[in-house]
Assembly symmetry: C2
């Protein structure tokens, strides 16, 4: 499956550029702007007739992005594109994966249906698969998932001497152990102590003596960053070395990034969501994943 | 077709209340909020099993509203609703009704398809039908259109002595003449003189002598309000009476409303889009239109 045209939704130019280069494909032009009344205007300035197209759009802060993305996919088909795929380095709406309270929207499923209707295939990086075993439980189109664990491990091995990898909870243990093994470092996971309905307290009792090691907190997503922030503070209070926070997707709601920096952490993310903390490049691995999709080509 | 539950998306409580009262129906509760990462959370706090549901959502500034609206419709079905209809007092994305330049998205069609997939029927007020003869050209579900012309005419008759109705262009003449006839007032339409590709100049030469009459500028939508603003200024410059601007849908992009008021106009709209200028109530007429939809009931 080799797209011959890549289209970058705003902010995704770097990823689209790397992908296009890997496939000797061209970058198509999409004009996207807002009318004064808030409606979106879109125009493809590239002939799409009988071409296989990949639209690149990371879906952090997704509500503003999904509607224009659906417009782009539908318009590409109308303009004669043979296949329209989606490369979403960050895939949104994966956390509401079950009806926790009666009447709740299971938005992971609704988004999967909208995207499955609009696109022929999907490639993404480490989607938040918690209660779903795989994307195929909710996506009806072929999907490929890129795993960032070994890239994160490489970064840690190169940049952190004497690391101790620390995962956020027991559910993350399998993933954390993979990162640690690849990085050649020991690991542990935090204990979350539930205090009532909403409050969760982190315990670092089971951390034991970090000693001369540098604590490296790893997680798939940093959103509010509360768990990481609390852990950073507890470690600092104990007099441990300044921790490094490493995540796949840095969403950084509100002032999450600034708070972590202020608490004394070094913060590093993969470039799935564009951010000043991006230090681990996943675009090359994304390009390889595209090649493994068995979708008919143009 | 009588819905037994009405759900108001945020800001549509008044319309939903009037509609529910007209049908002896209940107002269902929908909790809608944003997670810190910008994703939407929705929860119905009302049993929807085997009920016919109408979701009320005016679609001005539509990009933020359409995704949660689609989530609400899909979730209502999952929760067992028999039918899910949409009451959209203002229907967005009707102006991009053709591919004016190669490669453009015909967003009216894409939105129609998304809403037709999500809902069983649609009721709206004066959609901007320019190149489409009717909504059925793009909507595959039953639709009902409420016309505000006679309500606008009533308002003019009651509130403006000696009115001269003025339409924006020759294309609006049929609609303007209806309003004028119902209001028992004479009418005319402006001439638009095209200067190059983008600039349009209004001519009021064909207005003749307004005399003792009060100019009443009517239009279906006020968005940037440029045409109305220019006309108000030209009339004021001639020394005519302060004009009244009457529209169905007051979108008022940026400072459009303030500019019209500053130029000396009185501005009045129907309550399809909630705004301080709302003076013409269309909710009762909306309720009647619902009753004419032949969709099976619960």
């Amino acid at each position: 499956m080799t797209p011959s045209i890549f289209i970058a939704m705003p902010g995704n130019e770097a990823a689209a550029g790397t992908l296009a280069k890997a496939y000797g494909a061209t970058i198509g032009q999409l004009e996207l702007r807002a009318f004064p009344d808030g409606e979106s205007y879109l125009r493809f300035d590239t002939d799409l007739t009988r071409r296989t197209l990949a639209i690149v759009c990371s879906l952090d802060r997704p509500n503003d992005k999904i509607l224009p993305l659906l417009f782009a996919a539908a318009t590409a088909r109308e303009l004669g594109a043979a296949k329209v795929g989606l490369v979403a380095p960050y895939l949104a709406y994966m956390r509401q994966d079950r009806r926790f309270k009666p009447g709740e929207a299971v938005t992971s499923r609704e988004v999967a249906q909208l995207l499955s209707n609009a696109f022929d295939w999907l490639v993404t990086v480490d989607p938040h698969l918690h209660r779903y075993g795989s994307l195929s439980e909710i996506y009806s189109i072929p999907t490929r998932v890129v795993h960032a664990a070994s890239l994160m491990a490489d970064w840690i091995k190169t940049n952190v001497a004497n690391a101790l990898i620390i995962g956020p909870d027991s559910e993350s243990e399998q993933w954390v152990s993979t990162v640690a093994k690849d990085a050649g470092a020991p690991y542990t996971v935090l204990e979350k102590v539930r205090r009532g309905d909403r409050e969760v307290e982190i315990s670092i009792r089971n951390l034991g003596d970090v000693g001369e090691r540098t604590p490296v907190l790893v997680d798939d997503i940093i959103s509010t960053g509360r768990t990481m922030l609390e852990t950073v503070r507890l470690l600092k209070a104990r007099g441990d070395a300044a921790p490094v926070c490493v995540a796949v997707h840095g969403l950084f709601a509100a002032d999450a990034y600034e708070m972590l920096i202020k608490a004394g952490a070094r913060v590093v993310t993969c470039n799935t969501v564009r951010h000043t903390s991006n230090a681990i490049d996943v675009h090359g691995t994304l390009a390889k994943a595209l090649g493994t999709l068995s979708v008919s080509t143009d």
